[in-house]
């Protein structure tokens, strides 16, 4: 089965049912399908062909959902890019995957103008929420999304299918240790397998109403739409969690049954008096992206005794890896649970042999949800995907150290690399260090994670200055805000006279985590 069929099948079974709610907009399955078809025909007319990459840089809005399904219906590969992404990273991604088409909101046009001029493969830019008139492009064609969606003549029926489930459906960019994002290649089969598995342990069905506050550029957020549509449920897209009171109202009004979140959101919600609100419709809460602190889990269960809490663990490379059955939360509070359905998980030692309970080793994932590799990075792909038990098969080496208990429950120990997990997202210290090195006056910079109650891990930058240079923390923050997505901006900046080094000359990251103020 192909991913766009999640929508098409539900549109046949439940044409009049509400599929999508975004703010005051409501769309039935038939409408989402029809609008996605029009958009797909427009893409094809603009030259999008089977296997082409189409980037979508939108926040959580209905156009983003239409774009995803339109791209799939056109036989192409969708590439979600966070809407807070700055020019350099978008430029890198567009060039890396050689996208020929981009979907962009109107208000980003000005800041990305130069980038658009210098992205050689890009032919067409679709503009959502167009304000004013379309820009005149010499080398690029600009098209208004709303005009496409309103134009019946594009065709309301689905374009003829060209793909099979072995074709790529999506590239999802994730932070790598090199500092450059890597495009995780996922086929239709990968996404179908992951969706089915998640649906089966969460027992999703057409009665579910999913409140999605997670960004669609994030695999965890994207899959809320995919699994919601797969079962014929209703997906409510929210742009932000800034106003929890409005979310509580929404849960009551829409009778929300499912509320996926990252621990940072859980921490924030717990600052409100949940008992004051009618949250009786909620069936489950899921958390992923980072470990849910035990007292948060306890508090949620105490305040919402009718709600099942699923603690989960995953990686973009295969979407989901494990889940802790809700009844185990008190028995094994430190565990990330068991393998998801239709998946095998095991721990291996340095020599590649499987190890038994209690022994720490690298976690390996086996199943049809495992990615095909990183786009254009054969070496990195080879490192992550290695031969499995069946000849020709590839299994995923997660780079995460784990151990298993006697009953087959898994426990996260640590990462093998320095990747930071903040607000549930992977952040490469190297990427931030490169941005810091570009600040005039900075001699050396190192970025480390420090524990944080709300964020999971907070980002700390330690900086040394060139002789005579004068920089304030504000200037460092400002520079970071210009060049990095919001969640990558360090929470702390510390100036030091020199960076501590290990005997072999490497930066001693352990030492950097404790504060030493040497300069104002």
């Amino acid at each position: 089965m192909q991913v766009e069929e999640f929508l098409e099948r539900s549109a046949r079974h439940f044409p009049e049912k509400t599929a999508l709610v975004c703010g005051s907009q409501r769309f039935s399955y038939a409408e989402v399908d029809r609008l996605s078809n029009r958009f797909a025909h427009a893409l094809i007319r603009c030259g999008v062909r089977r296997g082409d990459r189409v980037a979508v840089c939108l926040d959580n809005c209905s156009e983003a959902v239409f774009a995803i399904f339109a791209i799939l219906k056109a036989g192409a590969v969708f590439v979600m890019v966070d809407h807070t992404t700055k020019s350099e990273r978008l430029h890198y991604i567009l060039n890396d995957c050689q996208a020929n088409t981009l979907v962009l909101p109107s208000d980003k046009l000005e800041s990305f103008q130069e980038l658009l001029e210098h992205t050689s493969h890009l032919r067409t830019v679709f503009i959502a929420n167009l304000k004013g008139s379309l820009p005149a492009g010499r080398s690029r064609c600009f098209i208004s999304v709303s005009e496409v969606l309103e134009t019946e003549s594009f065709g309301d029926a689905a374009p003829a299918k060209q793909c099979i489930d072995a074709d790529l459906a999506a590239l999802i960019y994730t932070s790598g240790t090199t500092g450059h994002p890597k495009g995780v290649m996922l086929t239709h089969l990968n996404m179908f397998s992951a969706s089915n598995s998640v649906i089966s342990y969460l027992e999703n069905n057409s009665e579910d109403v999913i409140l999605n506050v997670l960004r669609l550029s994030y695999s965890y957020g994207l899959y809320q739409v995919l699994t919601g549509f797969h079962v014929g449920g209703t997906v409510i897209l929210e742009r932000s969690v800034n106003y929890p009171f409005l979310l509580f109202e929404k849960i009551k009004k829409e009778k929300v049954t499912a509320f996926p979140m990252v621990p940072t959101i859980a921490a924030m919600l717990l600052q409100y008096d949940l008992r004051q609100h009618d949250l009786s419709s909620l069936r489950y809460i899921t958390t992923a992206g980072a470990a849910l602190p035990q007292h948060h889990a306890r508090k949620l269960r105490e305040l919402l005794p009718h709600v099942k809490i699923f603690i989960m663990y995953g990686q973009t490379e295969c979407k989901r890896i494990s889940y802790l059955p809700p009844e185990q939360i008190d028995i094994r509070p430190n565990s990330v649970g068991v393998a998801i359905p239709n998946e095998e998980l095991y721990v291996i030692a340095e020599d590649g042999r499987r190890v038994g309970p209690g022994v720490v080793g690298e976690l390996v994932v086996r199943g049809s949800h495992v990615m095909k590799g990183y786009w254009g990075l054969p070496k990195e792909s080879e490192r992550a995907l290695r031969p499995g038990p069946v000849p020709g098969e590839k299994v995923l080496y997660t780079g995460d150290l784990f151990k298993m208990d006697e009953e087959g429950y898994f426990y996260f120990v640590s990462r093998k690399d320095d990747i930071i997990k903040t607000r549930g997202e992977k952040v490469s210290p190297k990427e931030i260090e490169e941005v810091l090195h570009a600040v005039d006056g900075v001699a050396e910079a190192a970025v480390v994670a420090i524990p944080d109650e709300v964020l999971g891990q907070a980002i700390k930058a330690v900086v040394t200055l060139r002789e005579g240079a004068q920089l304030t923390k504000q200037e460092i923050f400002r520079h970071c805000a210009k060049h990095l997505e919001d969640f990558k901006i360090p929470q702390q900046v510390e100036f030091r006279a020199a960076l501590p080094k290990t005997p072999n000359g490497k930066i001693d990251r352990k030492e950097l985590r404790s504060p030493v103020e040497t300069q104002a």
């Binding site: 932000s240 969690v241 800034n242 106003y243 009171f245 805000a481």
Partner: protein, 85 residues
Amino acid sequence: MEQIEQELRQFVVDNFLFGEGESQLSNEDSFLEKGLVDSMGILTLVNFVQEKYAIAIADEELVPENWDSVRRIATFVQGKLSVTK
């Protein structure tokens, strides 16, 4: 009112714009639309307002109508202060 607006503006500029872009920020700019303040930022703002103006804020008052721009917060704070006086 003007003083409150100025104080709030300064807080937003210092904490969310890192001291820059003062001239680019209008007091009517929507924090949500401009992506200026995230959920943690709103809580920071709420704490600042509660302490600075010694007012209590109920959950139901935490809505964009009251918090989504410098001017909206100033109007909201002014309203709360005039009630308590």
